[in-house]
Symmetry: C2
Subunit: 670 residues, 2 copies
């Protein structure tokens, strides 16, 4: 028998041989056209050849070193785009992802420029946007403060208009009013869009946005009245200078207020914005985008963990009595940990596409002509004023995307950690890359709305709908609230175990569970927990529906069959996790509940032959995964040894501190 | 109204004023005698005055820097003990904990020395133990290999005896046989206890332990045939040099095998050990110790999160209509996240004490006279040979502590992350110290047996017991298997919602659930998932019982009353989380299930007035918590600002890379 290190690749090959579908077909489904895949290969090649951009040594660096290296990467990134004339947003985005860590110019690209574009008036845009696009200025987006995150209405920074000089005076009146968290604010940006409470002639005019110069354009030193810096290390985003900024009576010209909607005239007169709904649109787009991020990170981690589980021999499964150890993937618990996470990844992919599709359809209905592939914040130009009659769909999408953001970030965050633990000690090691991926993802559980804020928004919207359902959307694919028409008094109709695998039976169970939870919440309005269950019940029902619709639309028979198993597995798994809810009012009987459990376990060995093919189907390369234990070829042990050789401590046989610190200990008594 | 930064401390004071019990009484329960508390204060003062040991800058360092600074800390730690003649193990341990990160000499203290003491024969001990105690040698404990972790029988390193020279030849025959993970092995240790498969005259004699010199005692350079180094960064333990080591035909004298039990005579004859059970004893002790670690870390994190939630104003709770924001702790979801984790902490404390008590009682029954306060590995000397008739209790404790280790590390790991998310963005920041605490703890989910290995051990033992129950333990406090005598056909007897709060009703529900799960597993032996549920069901039942017994033993009435509420909350919470299991065969009816949910939510406002007092009751100091947002005085915002000022990036206004990397971008087109 070959030794373990040589056996591991053979084990992965063996797993691949048992697949019942064509992996390339799956990759086409996930990545898109062959032409685009070829383009990706080309762009990836450029990055892998670039001595700065191909860097993967982030795990050896502290926050300061990560940030400093990310400056070099920013520089190299911009130069690469220029050198190869890469101007398409999706191509730029693809390259950016390949870097494996966010850059300090991230917010400049994804939020600062779009905010100028969408919230400045024409004259302002003509002046500022080219400066930002050509990076003559580098910007941050300064909304969150030390004292207030999710509740924007609590912002304390003030902007008082001085008609005498036609200037705004930006000021941080309290300790907690300093801006806190904005990416790139600490050390990188020389300008920021600052959200502050506007006061005109003593009157509160709400939170408005202002463009504030922070640093001298030549020397980069902070301007007078600006106290700016980095807030220190975090779990993730160590390569970014999340910053703080306090203002001491900083004066900016009147025209530095972003005046597309609200305006202040020279004499100090206030012109109200026609509606506050615009901010809604931006939020929806961001939340839809985050479902994509969830798909992305989950697919990375579950690819790593599943491949490792197939290549890793350890112990003997219950029942197996041979002398040969079995792959960890042969353990039922390992399958029950990983297979639902493979399903979660594909489900998040389909759900993200559905939401994006609804968003784009809505925009096009409204006469907008936005490029869907640009950043999540470039939206809602041109459409203002015409969409107020389309609010129903916007409200549905806003509510549902809020609930799905809460659900999926939680599920993916928790799922990554379960997958990590399923890799034992090697999942604890940075060489697996799972720690890094988790650290970069996990902020999504709290940024752009914490779980509790989102489920309340979602739940409140559902409660309104329950009271006043409104007409069904004519296009069923866009009808996110169809569960309201379920029968909450029904019982599950399955009379045999096999019927519990039927899509209709499963989808209906989730709809009824959601509707029951919502009705319960309506009867107990003071209970936030009840609202939370209604929100999660609905989000899960929508997820299951989007996932299912994605599966049945697959034209390739063998792939569709496997994906359907995966979908069934996911549905049954969710039922067992929340079995109490599905058993409310005995919707599922005690007997049906045991069928669910049995059906779930019975699916595991059916999916097993396709497990590796399913993660291969995400089409992720070794360069992107950057994992010693998640390699395509399964050569995990040599890769782990090669990684350890790179550890800076191994550059010398004897560490510097030995003679100073260890030897004196050796000569003393412990 | 005062500004937010000044309001935060007042909010905490207000919370403290509503407590219905005396916090000092709780602290006495947790920490022990006033005398010991005074001693702790004194020792803490010594550490806080020491310029190296009071260091808290670990968050700014990468792995190499963490390790190098930990060498300095090791040195300062030893010197402090010497200077103040601190020799008592519990005092040394207390100081060690105060350092806030493990040191490279950790394994030398906790595993290397105890292994020499317990597994060497008298002559060997006389020679080696003083060398180790006086740190003339520094050791590692090298068991785990690259290819094998939890399955010790898979170890590949070989030790072949050469009678001609009376030496063992240690060798790493494969890539995967290299030792991998041992703490201190990479750069610190100059010796290691190495586990290798012994071959005598071509015969396999099982895995034995050998003392192997690794580095030159003077120059510290690796000896010939030794390839040793650090395995690289990890999620936690960055201050420790977890290492690898490969052997190329390394010869050691015959007497370097640890020969207390198994022996090899000069002519190569093998003397078998009288039993293999000893390793059991060590494992039990370690697993009991880990329940203490769980209590410790959970109490740290929930103290931080609960205090922050009381000091943090944000938004408006459902129903509240004022203009004044409410503390996050006023949200039902926040309470439902944090209060069960306060309960988990106290429950883990009581459970850990119970297990330790059983362990100590067992030892004393066996005629041992071990000091319970020494490290978890100094055990089982003196008792060998007399405990075989006490195996029943040992088996119970071994099985139960395995299940509890799996349960509690999972619950605490997950609970820490939930508590972190409940702190929003500030929980993502290193200033909260939650990230550091999580990183240092989370390894416990996989080290010393992964979840899946432990539940199988535990479950297998339970299945044996189900088939052959054996007599009840005469002392009910030591009877960990009492659930076997429950009535699995019974239904829950509660006929009113109030009855669901009765301890008997709750305890019985957990016993029946465990027994049902075990019976189910017995009928479906091939299902690892079924065994897992049996294991977790039993572990949870034991946890609830230990927690309850700890609560009713409290003599102070007001404290006992609050702790009982906390216990009820925890029991009800666990039922709602696994409601499907408690509803199996309709043990709980649909109506009873709704009562459980309602009773749980009804307890939250009852516990709320005591929430801060309950976390104060853990008696943790600000120095230990090391958290800007978890401070006793609630002055969280000033603390956050002070932390940010320490960030190394803030030492200069303009970062070094600006002119090299940013300016060229500013002059180019993005």
């Amino acid at each position: 028998m070959p030794e373990l290190a040589d056996l591991a690749p053979l084990l992965l090959q063996k797993e691949r041989a048992t697949a019942t579908f064509d992996v390339a077909t799956c990759i086409n489904l996930v990545l898109g056209s062959k032409e685009w895949q070829g383009r990706m290969d080309h762009l990836r090649g450029l990055v892998m050849e670039d001595p700065v951009l191909n860097d993967r040594d982030m795990i050896y660096r502290n926050h300061k070193e990560r940030y400093e290296f990310a400056l070099a990467k920013s520089n190299a990134f911009v130069k690469l785009l220029q050198k190869h004339s890469i101007t398409k947003p999706d191509e730029q985005q693809f390259i950016y992802y390949l870097l494996g860590e966010p850059l300090p110019i991230d917010v400049h690209r994804s939020m600062f420029i779009p905010t100028l574009e969408t919230q400045m008036d024409e004259e302002q845009r003509a002046y500022w946007v080219p400066l930002a696009r050509e990076a003559k200025i580098l910007g941050a987006y300064a909304q969150t403060e030390l004292g207030h995150g999710s509740n924007v209405q609590g912002i304390e920074t003030t902007a008082v208009y001085d008609p005498a000089t036609q200037e705004f005076v930006l000021h941080s009146p309290t300790l907690t009013s300093r801006k806190w968290w904005p990416g790139g604010l600490g050390k990188t940006a020389n300008h920021a869009v600052v959200h502050a409470r506007l006061t005109l002639d003593g009157k509160d005019r709400g939170v408005q946005a202002f463009l504030v110069p922070l640093r001298d354009p030549k020397t980069h030193t902070p301007l007078p009245g600006i106290d700016v810096g980095d807030i220190g290390p975090k779990i993730g985003f160590q390569s970014v200078d999340n910053g703080y900024c306090a203002f001491t009576n900083v004066r900016i010209p009147r025209r530095n207020m972003l005046m597309r909607f609200a305006k202040v005239l020279p004499n100090g007169e206030f012109v109200k914005p026609p509606s506050d709904r615009l901010v809604y649109f931006t939020m929806v787009r961001v939340r839809v985008f985050i479902t994509y991020v969830c798909y992305r990170y989950m697919s990375f981690v579950v690819t790593i963990a599943t491949r490792f589980s197939a290549a890793r021999l350890q112990g003997f499964a219950p029942g197996s009595k041979g002398k040969v150890e079995v792959p960890v993937l042969s353990y039922e618990n390992q399958q029950l940990t990983l297979f639902p996470l493979i399903a979660l990844s594909y489900g998040a992919m389909f759900t993200s596409r559905r939401l994006q599709g609804i968003y784009d359809t809505m925009l096009s209905q409204l006469g907008g002509s936005m490029d869907a592939s640009t950043c999540p914040f470039t939206c809602c130009i041109m459409i203002f004023g015409v969409f107020l009659d389309k609010l129903d769909l916007l409200n549905q999408l806003h509510a549902t995307s809020s609930g799905l953001k809460a659900l999926l970030t939680t599920e993916v965050g928790d799922g990554m950690e379960r997958a990590r633990r399923a890799c034992g000690g090697h999942g604890f090691s940075a060489s697996s890359n799972i720690p890094h991926l988790m650290q970069e993802f996990i902020g999504a559980c709290t940024y752009e709305g914490t779980f509790d804020v989102l489920v309340q928004q979602h739940g409140a919207s559902l409660l309104k709908r329950l009271a006043k359902p409104g007409p069904a959307q004519p296009n069923s694919a866009m009808d996110l609230f169809s569960f309201l028409r379920a029968d909450a008094t029904a019982k599950c109709a399955a009379t045999t175990p096999a019927q519990l695998l039927e899509p209709d039976v499963l989808l209906r169970a989730f709809q009824v569970r959601a509707l029951k939870a919502l009705q319960h919440a309506a009867r107990n309005r003071a209970s936030m927990h009840g609202i939370t269950r209604a929100s999660m019940g609905h989000a899960e029902s929508v997820f299951l529906q989007c996932f299912f619709d994605g599966v049945i639309a697959i034209t390739d028979g063998p792939l569709r069959a496997v994906m359907l198993q995966l979908w069934q597995l996911y549905a049954l798994w969710r039922i067992t996790l929340h079995l109490g809810e599905f058993r409310a009012d005995d919707y599922l009987s005690a007997t049906q509940a045991t069928w669910v459990q049995e059906a779930l376990l019975a699916l595991l060995p059916q999916i097993r032959p396709n497990a590796i093919a399913l993660v291969d189907g995400f089409g992720l390369t070794d360069f992107e995964l950057n994992s010693a234990i998640g390699r395509y070829d399964g050569d995990v042990y040599r890769a782990l040894i090669a990684r350890a050789a790179n550890e800076p401590l191994n550059r010398t046989d004897v560490v510097d501190g030995y003679h100073k610190y260890l030897q004196p200990i050796l000569a003393s008594k412990l």
